[in-house]
Structures are given as structure tokens and as C-alpha cells.
């Protein structure tokens, strides 16, 4: 079974925030909620500036799912982690458990009372009827059901952000790694890659 994965190539990411805006426009997400964000470190420091676009990583052992008191998360067969907004009570535990800061909560309401959680759906909608209006309202577009790749990756100007079947993503990664030569981890992503990378 294929597994859907994101991969952001920090050699390619130019911090243009195109993915962020593409995502928000596609899913009509309110201001203040960012399913995807671009992080830049060492801005302006020669040779050290790096950018990376991050969103939900769709973990196979998703901590958000483990911690959720209402058990509103579910993992699709293709590895996409989705959640049920009808169940979510907005407690925010997933935010604490997530290593990537993917869960987002809006700021509306008095005393900053949080709404329900919103996060990257890999453009795969949610538990509502596929391609229905309710689904769009709750989770945004369901591009996976339409046979398309997520909006962020399809709009990425430099094709730093790749999304799709892990095996395919891995192939692209291997291709680029081989072309670039040394100094790149052989494993895309994961903590291991991080720790051995440099």
C-alpha cells in the first residue's frame, strides 16, 4: 500500500511562502491559522541561511492521535492523518503532542476561546461525505479524491516541496541527492536523517 508523504528540499526552498498562500487560498482558511508555514533560520548570515516549509507530516504513529481525548483522529490507509471536526472539543492536547506544530486553533471568540482544531489534510478532506459542501466548509478541498496532489506542492515555485506516494517522493529525493553528490543524508526526513545529516 502506498503511503502519502511530504518532503521539503531545503536545498531548493527559497522562502517565498507560495505554499502557505496556496494552501490558504485553496481551503479558504481564516487569517491566523496556518496549516503550512515556512521557517527560515540564520536570516542574512552568510552560508547559513536555510528555509524549510513545514506542515503536518502525517506520521504513521501520530502522537496527536495518541493524545486526543475524544479520539477524533484517524489514519487513512494511505497514511494521511485526518480528524473529525464534529468530535473535536478544541482542548489543544494535540498541539502539545505534535512534534511539528501542525495543529492550529483560530483566535475567534471572547477570551481567546479556541475553536476546533484545524490542520493540514494533505488536501484529502475529512470524514464528511467526499467532495460535499460540508467537507469543503470543514476541511477545504479534497484534491486527493480528485486525483490531484496537494495545493502547496503543486504551487511550489522551485519544486522544493514534493508531495505524493512515499516511494515516488523517495525516488525524486534520491535523484536529487545523487545529482548533488555528497553531504546529503541518504534517508529523507525522519529524526535519523536529521541527526546523521550533518
Amino acid at each position: 500500500m502506498s503511503r502519502m508523504k511530504f518532503y521539503c528540499d531545503d536545498y531548493r526552498c527559497v522562502d517565498c511562502n507560495g505554499c502557505v498562500v496556496a494552501c490558504k487560498e485553496a481551503h479558504e482558511i481564516p487569517v491566523g491559522v496556518n496549516r503550512r508555514r515556512v521557517i527560515t533560520i540564520n536570516e542574512g548570515i552568510e552560508g547559513k541561511q536555510k528555509s524549510l516549509s513545514v506542515a503536518c507530516m502525517h506520521c504513521s504513529d501520530a502522537p496527536c492521535q495518541k493524545v486526543c481525548p475524544t479520539d477524533c483522529f484517524y489514519i487513512r490507509k494511505d497514511g494521511i492523518v485526518l480528524h473529525d471536526k464534529e468530535k473535536c472539543i478544541g482542548c489543544g492536547y494535540c498541539l502539545y503532542a505534535c512534534p511539528f506544530g501542525a495543529p492550529q486553533f483560530g483566535h475567534e471568540g471572547i477570551f481567546g476561546v479556541k475553536g476546533v482544531m484545524d490542520k493540514c489534510t494533505f488536501c484529502a478532506g475529512g470524514p464528511d461525505e467526499t467532495l460535499s459542501e460540508t467537507e469543503f466548509e470543514h476541511y477545504g478541498q479534497n484534491r486527493i479524491a480528485e486525483g490531484k496532489i496537494p495545493m502547496c506542492a503543486s504551487m511550489c515555485a522551485t519544486k522544493a516541496l514534493i508531495a505524493g506516494d512515499a516511494a515516488e517522493v523517495d525516488k525524486i529525493y534520491e535523484y536529487r541527492t545523487a545529482k548533488r553528490g555528497e553531504n546529503t543524508s541518504l534517508k529523507p526526513y525522519g529524526w535519523e536523517a536529521y541527526n546523521n545529516g550533518k
Partner: protein
């Protein structure tokens, strides 16, 4: 007074401390997976104003990126949050069972004090209407907080949805409102501190003087309340945007953990209040409502209160 030994003077404190250390040791040693070294370091850093959670400069670009994108040291606190929130769902019953057991044992040992009242009409007003308002507001709010809090913890049983979400929001709002009540209770808890002058308003805020066993309960109630108020309010107000996420997430994790811990511990003192007011002495609860007690009741159960009231001329 001088004849009392150190042990006799501080028995209540020592026993409470020992109890907490014992419970704490068992939990920390055998049940928790928190990186305590990190937590202690973090707390020190946070006190100095650095709440980012980055304890030492990153050694690699990747580590730096992780710090900037995801927040530092995921493996220190977050797994504990996951464990705690899961185990709270499953095992918090046992904690309550143990706590209730303590009071059952106390009851078996001490029974119920039943003061003999011969002159029910000779009453003294102990609690002013303000004091009663505070006390009952506290009882009400705590009940709401406990219920709505469990609503979050145990929402696996409710399976989420609109009502539990509403209750969760109510928990946050009530919590914020409770901060005011908690403040008054803190004053009450500190009312016989040596620093106050003997005739100050604080000292007479609530009549009577504390025995150590009573004071320690007030004291812990105030301290745990502080933890809850601080962490709760911070969690609500210190809301991370996607760009500040990495800077605050670790702090929020620690705050949530503080909230978890304080809520479990404060339950003991809440139960103690329930035991003390509803079970240990007959007639206490009624007086709490009316504000007046028969003089004989006070003579038998709380002579110190009567003494205090006489001083200010209310008895």
C-alpha cells in the same frame, strides 16, 4: 508553648511533605517518562525569562532548524504529556480511590464530631455575607471546574461533539473567573502569617487561628490554585501563532503539565474540604450556609474562632 518539641510544632507539615515526597517518588521513579533534568533546567531558564526551551546553543544546522521550526527537545516533555493524558483517562480513578480511602480511614478512626447543642437560639455570626458568598462561589466554581475538567480528560467516554466542546470552553471561562476567588483564598491562607500585625484586617479576615494541620491544607490549596490559575491563564492567553510556535510550545507543554499535576494534587485538598465540612463535624455545613453557629458549637468545636470573634466584639 515552649515545651512543645519541633516535631509537635511541625508534625502536620512534616507528614504532608513526607506524603508528597513518597507519592512523588513513586510517580517520578516508576510511572513518569519526563526528562526531569531538562524540566528543572527549563524552569530555571523560564524564571530568568527565557521560555523558549533551548537550553544550549544548537550544535548543528539541523538541530537549529528543528528548534526554529518545531520547538526544542521534543522528547523531554511531550511524551510525558501523551502518557499523562492517556493515563489520566484510565487510572485517575485509582488516585481518587486512594484519596477517598484516606478519608474513610480518618472517619473510621475519628468518627463524626457531634457537638451537643442545648441552646440553639444562642447563636454567633461567624461568616459575614461576603465570606459566605466567597465560600459558596468557590464551592460552585470548583464543582464546575472539576466537572468540566473531567469532561476534557474523559471525553473519550463522551466521544466529543458540541456539548463537550461547550463544556470545555466553560472550563476556560470559569477558570479565568475563579482567579478572583483564588486570590481571596490566598489571603485567607496567609491570614495568620507572622508578618501581619495582630489586629490587621487580614488576620481577622476569617475568624480563628490555624492549627498546622489546617493551615497546611489552606496553604496547599492556595499553592495548587496558583499553579492552576497561572498555567490555565497562560495556556489561554499565550496562544501560539504559526510563527511563534517554536518559541512557546515547550513552555506551554510545561504549563499543561503543571496544570495536570496541580489538578490532581488539589483534588486531595478539595476532598479534605468536603470531608471537613460535610462529614467530620455535624452542623458545619449548615452554618456555612446561614453564617451563624450556636455558641455551644463554637465552644466545643472551634474555641479559637469564638475567641477571635470576642476580640472584635461580634460574640
Amino acid at each position: 508553648m515552649e515545651s512543645k518539641t519541633f516535631w509537635e510544632c511541625n508534625k502536620a507539615y512534616i507528614l504532608t511533605a513526607l506524603g508528597l515526597v513518597l507519592v512523588g517518588f513513586v510517580f517520578v521513579k516508576y510511572l513518569m517518562i519526563m526528562d526531569w533534568g531538562y524540566l528543572i533546567q527549563f524552569t530555571l531558564h523560564a524564571m530568568l525569562g527565557d521560555t523558549s526551551g533551548v537550553m544550549s546553543a544548537p550544535t548543528s544546522e539541523l538541530q537549529q532548524m528543528m528548534n526554529a521550526a518545531f520547538g526544542p527537545a521534543y522528547n523531554t516533555v511531550a511524551p510525558e504529556i501523551i502518557r499523562a493524558s492517556n493515563e489520566r483517562q484510565e487510572f485517575i480513578w485509582y488516585v481518587f480511590f486512594a484519596e477517598i480511602l484516606i478519608f474513610v480511614l480518618l472517619y473510621i478512626k475519628n468518627g463524626r464530631v457531634n457537638p451537643t447543642i442545648t441552646k440553639p437560639n444562642d447563636t454567633v455570626q461567624v461568616f459575614t455575607s461576603f465570606q459566605r458568598a466567597v465560600i459558596w462561589l468557590n464551592i460552585g466554581m470548583i464543582s464546575v471546574l472539576v466537572l468540566t475538567g473531567f469532561n476534557i480528560t474523559w471525553s473519550l467516554r463522551s466521544e466529543g461533539g458540541d456539548l463537550p466542546r461547550l463544556l470545555r470552553e466553560f472550563h476556560e471561562l470559569t477558570g479565568l473567573a475563579w482567579i478572583g476567588v483564588w486570590l481571596i483564598f490566598t489571603i485567607i491562607a496567609a491570614k495568620d502569617m507572622k508578618g501581619w500585625r495582630s489586629n490587621s484586617t487580614f488576620r481577622h479576615f476569617l475568624p480563628g487561628s490555624y492549627k498546622p494541620s489546617k493551615r497546611v491544607i489552606w496553604f496547599f490549596y492556595a499553592v495548587m490554585g496558583a499553579g492552576l490559575c497561572f498555567s490555565g491563564a497562560m495556556i489561554i492567553t499565550l496562544h501560539p501563532s504559526s510563527l511563534t510556535h517554536a518559541d512557546v510550545i515547550q513552555f506551554r507543554r510545561v504549563l499543561l503539565y503543571l496544570h495536570f499535576g496541580a489538578s490532581v494534587l488539589i483534588m486531595f485538598f478539595i476532598l479534605d474540604f468536603v470531608y471537613a465540612s460535610a462529614i467530620s463535624v455535624k452542623g458545619y455545613l449548615k452554618g456555612l450556609w446561614t453564617g451563624t453557629y450556636p455558641r455551644e458549637y463554637l465552644e466545643q468545636v472551634a474555641p479559637d474562632v469564638l475567641e477571635d470573634l470576642k476580640k472584635v466584639g461580634r460574640a
